[in-house]
Symmetry: C2
Subunit: 348 residues, 2 copies
Amino acid sequence: MKIIVDAMGGDNAPEEIVKGALEAVREENIEVILAGRGEDILRSIEKMGLKELPRGVEIVNASEVIAMDEDPLNAVRNKKDSSLTVALNLLRDGRGDALVSAGSTGAIVSGATFVVKRVRGIRRAALAPLIPNTAEGFILIDCGAYAECKPEYLLQFAFMGSYYAEDMLKIESPRIGLLNNGTEPSKGTPLQLEAYKLLEKAGEDGDINFVGNVEARGAMLDECDVLVCDGFSGNVFLKSAEGMASFILTELAKIFTKNIATLISGLIVKKQLRKMRARLDSDKIGGTMLLGISKPVIKAHGSSNATAIANAIRAAVTATEADTAARLQMNIDRMKIDDADDKADENT
Amino acid sequence: MKIIVDAMGGDNAPEEIVKGALEAVREENIEVILAGRGEDILRSIEKMGLKELPRGVEIVNASEVIAMDEDPLNAVRNKKDSSLTVALNLLRDGRGDALVSAGSTGAIVSGATFVVKRVRGIRRAALAPLIPNTAEGFILIDCGAYAECKPEYLLQFAFMGSYYAEDMLKIESPRIGLLNNGTEPSKGTPLQLEAYKLLEKAGEDGDINFVGNVEARGAMLDECDVLVCDGFSGNVFLKSAEGMASFILTELAKIFTKNIATLISGLIVKKQLRKMRARLDSDKIGGTMLLGISKPVIKAHGSSNATAIANAIRAAVTATEADTAARLQMNIDRMKIDDADDKADENT
């Protein structure tokens, strides 16, 4: 298996990206293609004390880099020699099985849609991170690929999330919840009201295991395996949870450094606290799957270090084996949206 | 000053509500009216070991109770002798200065709008809790009074939040942020894009101190004093943060009860942890202000105990003194929306 890595994407590119990729090659039975500025990549490899390119590592040169604040679609279209665009072209052309990038989310979403294309019949790709909760975590879909949504997109997200949870998390008949501001079917804006009906019908048809509306708090307390929402709400959900976690961890650090007694107290539970912290940082662990694209694309966290990149590459391997895209294609008739408005924006 | 208390609202009604009200009367220089089933209230007072109604405490009988799952507006309209409806009528008729209820949020919002009425020119009332963050906290407005919003409502929320932060939190020129999925002005759905323009203009006119788009995470890290959003997003924000806090606190409890060493560690920091936990439960401390209503209405947490109710009554006292409603009325021309659609739903 060969994983394509955008070597120039992310805050710690290219050094940590290259280091992570080499770690994955060393530990897993895979090859990687590093797309990016050849000399920068080689310098990173030299810095690691290596004299030559290790076996299983290939470099494909790309002279440009897409910055985090560039207009996503324009960047991909205009910077044809950017590391991301080159990587996407390699994926489209079958030079590798999956792609990992820690670059700009917007550019990855737009680029993957524009270059690699969505599964035929899928109207919107969606970011589907695993969010830690009191159980094994749940899939949040969409967490911000597109801010705006139609009820039909939410139905497709439910299917995508359901297949993904089965394939990747090995959950049988995953519980699908609709993010809402209350559990009664009458809750929400017209988007949720309409989506509820579509999801309910899919549940009755036996296509998904719809458990109804779920509040944000409920998802954290294991009321569903997949939480379906528009990208705006998903972003608010994720960032609010992250912000609260960050706030509490800061407060805890203050408590434990208050005096000698509390320092000792902190030392006793240090290992467990570190474990908890790692669990909360799950987005940094495995990267986030971009579902609905015809081939596996994994968005690694912008601040990814080598370990995070190696883990994202492992996730890409699992995603390639799971091949959720093929499953989506096979079941597309159940998920198809027949909407004239949407025909126009096929693959935009 | 006289505060009207819905004695039958909330999970712990009437006992804890009555107890909290009596505590407030004892400690503050105020009177209360308890609206609810007379005999139940008297029994609660007896249980506290009191032989007669304390000075400053009055009971107004109301035979019915609105359940948490009833349709809000119908409940208020049809159950004319419910504790909440009776309390709202007392407030409208000037029998008291402010109202505290731990009952159903929907019923309080609908009831206050229907009976007490909004400030003339305000299109939607909004729930404005103080959310704890790395600094002194920030006002989230709206956190769920109405799921759906127009850009103009968000502008009014910004004004209301700004005055409230000045009056209640004593913050000069409060920093107003618009909740969005990124900080660039181009971010969000059409709602945020339009609202951004309105808020920017109000900022340029010197009416509010608009600091731009703020991400959910940023608000937790003190990037604004008032975070403006539609009720749906506000609800997701609040419940996600609550869920994450609850998750982490549960994990912490597990860590500290793991073995004797960690138990000791936990004992050392017990007091500080309790303080942190209390800070995170801020909604249980002071209740949530319903802004935009012509008189002060405070929604106490559904699970409020006596202390929480006493604190909500104290918040009602402060709100009465601050009289944000008068300030809204005085400045209504700056905030007025001239929209034919909206004329129809004045006070619905």
